[in-house]
Amino acid sequence: MSESVEKSTEKTEESSFSRLLPLTGLAGLLISSEVVYLALLQLDAINGWQPVLTFWIEMAALFVFYFLAAVLVARCESIKKFALWLIIFGAVLFRVTLLPAGIPFEYSPSEKLEAVRSDVLGKEVAYDRFLLFDNDVWRYVWDGHVTANGVNPYRYAPTDPHLDVFGGESVEFDETDEFDELSDEASSNAAGESRNEATDGLDIWRDIRDNVNHADVTTIYPPLAQFVFWLAHAIAPGSIFVMKAFLVLCELIGILFLALTLRRLGLAVTSVILYAWNPLMIKVFAGSGHADAILVAAICAAVYFIVCGWKSIGAAAFGLAILAKLSPVILVPFVVRRVGWRRSLIVPGVVLIGYLPFIDAGQNLFSGFLKFAREWQFNAGPFALIRWLSEFVTDDSASMARMICGVLIFAIVAFLAWRDDLSDGYFVSSSAIALGAAIILSPTVMPWYLSWVLPLAVMARQFVWVYFTAIVLAAFHIMIDLNEYAYVLWLEYSLFFALVGLGHRFARR
């Protein structure tokens, strides 16, 4: 009897030890990551070798901790319940830590806190123009501002003189006022005595307008994104901190749906760590404030509802995903086959309702997007090869390459749709491949585009996309001296395609 008690005590001790060790390891990785995120806040993110190299070293350290944590969680069955809480805690902590990224790095913690306060209250533009090498967030704040003032953001580019009054510029009004083209509310704001009203009584809009990139192009962000921008503006006009907080909230909603989907698919919920602790995702959303976080929430919700069999809600959420970013439109064949033809009409219905308030922009509704699609090229891989080959047959190699890549994406989606067995596993897997192919074949491969595919990749266990989130950081080499170097791109895409090949090899085994 006493022997058996002794054995059982030993077993319990062993089991608590076997639990404690990996949990301590995970907590250690959490703390180590947090220290690096705090260091990232102190980075003077400007052009040059030193800042970019420091950024890469810090991100590399974060990726090492991230991969170790993911392996630890996957290997230790015994800690899964506790690990989930640590994963959630870490996901929130890392994101909250990076929200002030962009506030001058040399500020002390108390000065940073004061700067955040000023930013939220609209007292001053407290953030630098670039937030960890990116500056798209200013456009969101500006779009939210003009929308709140009754101006259609698809109609006028930020530099358009029609919007001068909203940027706090001096405007002289006369009878042939240029504002009569604007909506009634906007006209009254603009033509009244008050630049004050048009600027919410804040003296920050000129600086914010100056900070918008490609300010001569109308907005490319679809209506759901515009709604979030407006919502953030309604709470704190002109605040970068609040805008970023909103985007992080969207991302956290996405993480919640991702965890629910993993459970639904019978996979370990703790593998949500592959998204929740991914350093690129944390950098691009909490650090730099990219709007793709809205897509993450919508696409994760859509997938969850569809795999649960809640077809109408799934179709509506998918419509919202298209309203967040147009790219998920390529997943239509997979969604339609799952929700049925009738319910799939909800998708265009939701999209139409979303665009309806902005319809008066006419042909300008997609002009920003089309300009982007036609003229941008950055960090491209296969697209650049096709473009180079096209130069032998046509003068307009860019258009030819765009057409060929478009056809290739169409062929991939058609092939996947043709082989669709209507299972949940195939749905997430083919969606990840389709969106991933669209990114890889795109002329513009911004690092944050990987957020479109990462949640699906986690569900489909396609780890090549997880690795690519680390590899794609090479794209930041342009911040060194504003040039894209062939050898860096060589490295980036060599690694990616080698991993694709290796992945296939292991999968077959």
Binding site: D128, A157, T159, H214, A384, A398
Partner: protein, 140 residues
């Protein structure tokens, strides 16, 4: 078969990247004459400060910010000047415009490894529009 696939992919990549060249970014052409100079290149990290002029000496403009911090920036040939939102040529600049005490907004490019007198080069200097002074002061 798989090996062939991997090899094909890996061999394809150098061709891909050799097709890139350097600086293959294609930003959209500038279409608006009012476009601010700090958008010359979307990858150029710039910062802005508003303050009062302390002095201009040997092409280096020093301003004092609202937080009582002095910042010196080198004026370059590429520096653009504006009064309000309107761009002006450098030959339209008058000495009086740089009088100490006048308010300006400077947008500058910081350099991390520059071994010269100043580590900031002005991209844009924006003087207050006289019309602005007649408007009521707006504050948060």
């Amino acid at each position: 078969m798989m090996k062939l696939f991997v090899l094909a992919m890996v061999f394809m990549v150098p061709v891909v990247v050799s097709a890139q060249g350097s600086g293959s970014i294609e930003p959209p052409p500038r279409t608006s004459p009012n476009e601010s100079a700090n958008r010359e290149d979307n990858f150029v990290v710039t910062r802005s400060e508003t303050g009062t002029i302390v002095g201009l000496k040997e092409g280096i403009l020093t301003i004092k910010t609202k937080k009582d911090k002095e910042i010196s920036v080198a004026l370059a040939n590429s520096t653009t000047f504006r009064i309000g939102k309107n761009k002006i040529d450098s030959d339209e600049l008058a000495e009086g415009m740089f009088e100490p005490g006048k308010q300006v907004k400077i947008t500058y490019r910081p350099f991390s490894d520059r071994k010269s007198r100043v580590d900031k080069v002005a991209v844009e200097v924006r003087f207050n529009d006289e019309k602005d002074k007649q408007k009521p002061v707006i504050s948060g």
